[in-house]
């Protein structure tokens, strides 16, 4: 008999990855083991016995180059690679000892992880700013057109990227103060 599969949609901000990890741990304790992460906050779980599993999300840049060696290193250290979604790699390991196992064991390297995510968003800000500045000439029309929808969408994304950069920078400075 095949194990039961459950699909869940849940939104997590990119700077709140510790909340996402804690939620995945709770799911494992409730007997749901992560199998897949889809585009836009969709998670797939497989029913299994309840177990205390620690999840960690890593961000690897470089378009999955040298992925074999990367995954091998984590698996040697006891972390199972579950899946990847746009550069984010999901790992898990059974809870053991007193402290939660970590993939980043010092603040310097943890900051570098958030910096890698930050760079991706930094690049998008000027790109979308250019789309706003160099928008096509449209004759003034009193009616709401598809062009207005496009413009609002671009403005919305631009603000979203700026907000994300702000939040990630804040996360980095919090780690520094620990």
């Amino acid at each position: 008999m095949n194990a039961e599969i459950k699909k869940v949609r849940k939104w997590f901000w990119v700077w709140d990855d510790d909340k996402e990890e804690a939620w995945l741990r709770k799911m494992a304790n409730d007997g749901w083991r992560l199998t897949k992460v889809g585009l836009i906050n969709s998670y797939e779980f497989e029913q299994s016995e309840s177990k205390d599993l620690i999840y960690r999300i890593d961000y690897k840049d470089g378009y999955n180059l040298k992925l074999d060696g990367y995954i091998q290193l984590f698996e040697d250290a006891g972390w199972k690679h579950i899946c990847e979604m746009s550069g984010r790699h999901y790992f898990r390991t059974p809870m053991r000892g007193e402290d939660e196992p970590e993939i980043y064991t010092d603040n310097e390297s943890k900051i570098l992880k958030y910096r890698r995510i930050l760079v991706g968003f930094y690049v998008l800000i000027p790109v979308f700013a250019l789309l706003l500045i160099n928008r096509p000439e449209v004759t003034k029309s009193p009616k709401f057109t598809i062009f207005d929808v496009y413009l609002i969408f671009i403005i919305f994304l631009e603000f979203f990227f700026i907000f994300t950069v702000y939040k990630l920078s804040k996360r980095i400075s919090q780690i520094k103060h620990l």
């Binding site: 060696g69 995954i71 250290a77 972390w79 980043y104 064991t105 570098l112 992880k113």
Partner: protein, 109 residues
Amino acid sequence: MSKKDEFSKYLPLSESTYYILLALVEPLHGYAVMQKVEILSNGLVTIGPGTLYGAFTILETEKLITKVSEIDRRKTYSLTPKGKTILLRQIERVEMMLKNGVQVKNFLE
């Protein structure tokens, strides 16, 4: 010791980087480095795979370490002459730190 040269910008090394370079005095692959550091430091310093992967990437780019072989997706690294020089400079710093610490320790006890 205070002279500024091409190596100064790497110093002081972070605790993790220092221990990774110490371990690489003999050629080792990633997981062996993690195990050796834990044994060397009596469990005081542990290095997670995320930290180690990042450190390997930077150290290889900056040519402090070099890949000597790759077997079953496990890369073995060893120190370059540049890496050895920097590690030696760090050890000298740590010796000074220890000397200064011991002097102050007498006043604290």
